[in-house]
Subunit: 328 residues, 2 copies
């Protein structure tokens, strides 16, 4: 049976079908209306382009929809969002795209919104020669502002979760050959694919930080997410906060089956798309939080100095010569 293409459906019917994925009161107007209380907002935009950020070979449309939402919510959380209001979606699709692809994408989008909160507020759709998903997410600023420029010398650097898994999942999906001497455990492979295709975020992150705060006068802490890799995140914090990061390689939380070696360190530190939160806290607060939250690990500290990163173990500094993923 011939698959149904967007070309066959026509624009009116496409808009009609997409409308079914939206809450009823959000359809058929020029703008979405957002009722606000007296709270400040956070807004973030992210675009995903076919063959740059995704391809049909590496991720199915449902997972892609999930991941597109999660990458935006991750940015909201890393700024201290306490609630996701919703997202707008600008979709560009070739006319030969199958309707079922779009349907699956929206199922994934709504699955992520159902899990992490928020609705589809609206969007736009156009023909184009390359699939593109641009999402703008709106959240409500919680009582603690998380900002890149709020780290201070003396503070502990922490991270949620484990890095590198998404990169490994990407390579497995792309059937990239590893060094023959390496045999990866099936568990690690499964876990990595899951991290790459269906990344998770930490909706309780802000609550736990606030719960362990002893001084309620502190309303701002340093934070970003590791969507561009762990070292890029630490570097962004260091530059925005004008201090120097000392990383403790020994403390880096790795998966128990993660192989050793320079190449694997590179995947770990530069992989990206892990959507972990990288942040800094005063010593006592850091201790309290890492005791409360099993997902949080101390990985270094900030000192006064030129914005830069150094490893405590000098031998690891060669790692810093690697360059992160670039779009241009």
């Amino acid at each position: 049976m011939r698959k149904e293409l967007l070309d066959d459906i026509g624009e009116k019917e496409l808009i009609n079908r997409l409308g079914k994925f939206m809450p009823k009161n959000q359809t058929s107007d020029d703008c979405a209306f957002i009722k606000t209380t007296n709270e400040n907002l956070l807004v973030n935009s992210d675009c995903l382009v076919e063959n740059i950020h995704f391809s049909d070979l590496t991720i199915c449309p449902k997972d892609l929809g999930w991941k597109a939402v999660v990458s935006n919510i991750s940015d909201l959380l890393s700024s201290g969002s306490k609630e996701t209001i919703g997202i707008t979606i600008s979709l560009i699709l070739p006319a030969k795209t199958e309707w079922v692809w779009v349907e699956e994408l929206y199922k994934g989008i709504n699955k992520a919104l159902k899990k992490y909160g928020g609705i589809i507020l609206g969007g736009d759709c156009s023909k184009g020669n390359q699939k593109t998903i641009s999402i703008t997410a709106l959240g409500i600023q919680g009582e603690l502002k998380l900002r890149r420029n709020a780290c201070s010398p003396g503070e502990i650097i922490l991270t949620t979760g484990i890095h590198g898994l998404s990169k490994l999942g990407f390579m497995v999906q792309n059937k990239i050959n590893f060094n023959n001497n390496i045999s990866l455990s099936k568990r690690l492979i499964r876990k990595s694919i899951a991290h790459f295709c269906r990344p998770q975020v930490y909706p309780n992150f802000l609550t736990n930080i606030i719960k362990t705060r002893s001084d309620s006068k502190i309303t701002k802490i340093g934070c970003t997410d590791s969507s561009d890799g762990l070292l890029q995140a630490v570097q962004d914090l260091a530059f925005a906060s004008n201090c120097k990061a000392i990383m403790n390689y020994e403390k880096i939380p790795k998966d128990k089956d993660w192989p050793e070696g320079d190449k694997w360190d590179e995947y770990y530190f530069f992989g990206g798309e892990d959507y972990e939160l990288v942040f800094s806290l005063p010593k006592k607060w850091a201790k309290k939080l890492s005791r409360l939250d099993q997902n949080v690990t101390e990985i270094g500290f900030f000192i006064k100095g030129e914005p830069s990163i150094e490893f405590k173990d000098n031998k690891k500094n060669k790692l810093l010569n690697n360059t992160p993923f670039k779009h241009f």
Copy 2:
């Protein structure tokens, strides 16, 4: 001299340069922070794709930036926005794009924001094989809600400005040949190109409507913009409000040099991208407003009936057989 391409600049430098077009306090974080008072918001997304919505042949990057902002602000105004907060920009560009193209685009964006209010809140940028500009605009809902579904039988249909000019400008820019018997005035050609390349909106529209309202209990009126053409706008109002539109062809405001004939009626009613406001008001209110605001003209009225459009002059109903611009 070889032009500077994005490929030569690199991602870091590109982000750095784009940051210079943003207010200082909006740069280098995962999200933009929006301070709100206790007012409700409006949000709208629109994408422009090269060779679908624009091309280097028809519009220069500075005008394109202007137009991208204006098309979003038009949607905000048509929902009753009293102030534009700002926009996020997701930009997809081929690596061979010249930097000067991007610079001009942003100059146009900021020129429109300076005129109509709002700032660049943030955005994203990625490589891709087709230039794409996705903008999400945020505005503050004014005291009068303008909605597609708020028209009522008995109300007068009104429009700002003149339609068809943008379509004519588009055709002139594309060097499309007109019927040889038609000679267009130079003034009309100049005006049409200006409408196509640098469309204007009506920031005082909401103020004037409120000024002429006699019953402050009315908090909702029917409105949309004519970005997809005048008849599409009237049809959207009729369907959303479940009533029938009777259009008065004689009253349609045309440019004094606009040629007569079926083809020119088609350009007028289906052209699109005019960003005029099409709305309905009770009779007295409509009279008061069109006396106060020279840009406003009565063009018909709504009656009870199946959602549809009819011309008062039966001979004009053949116009309705035309179909509007489609993306798929």
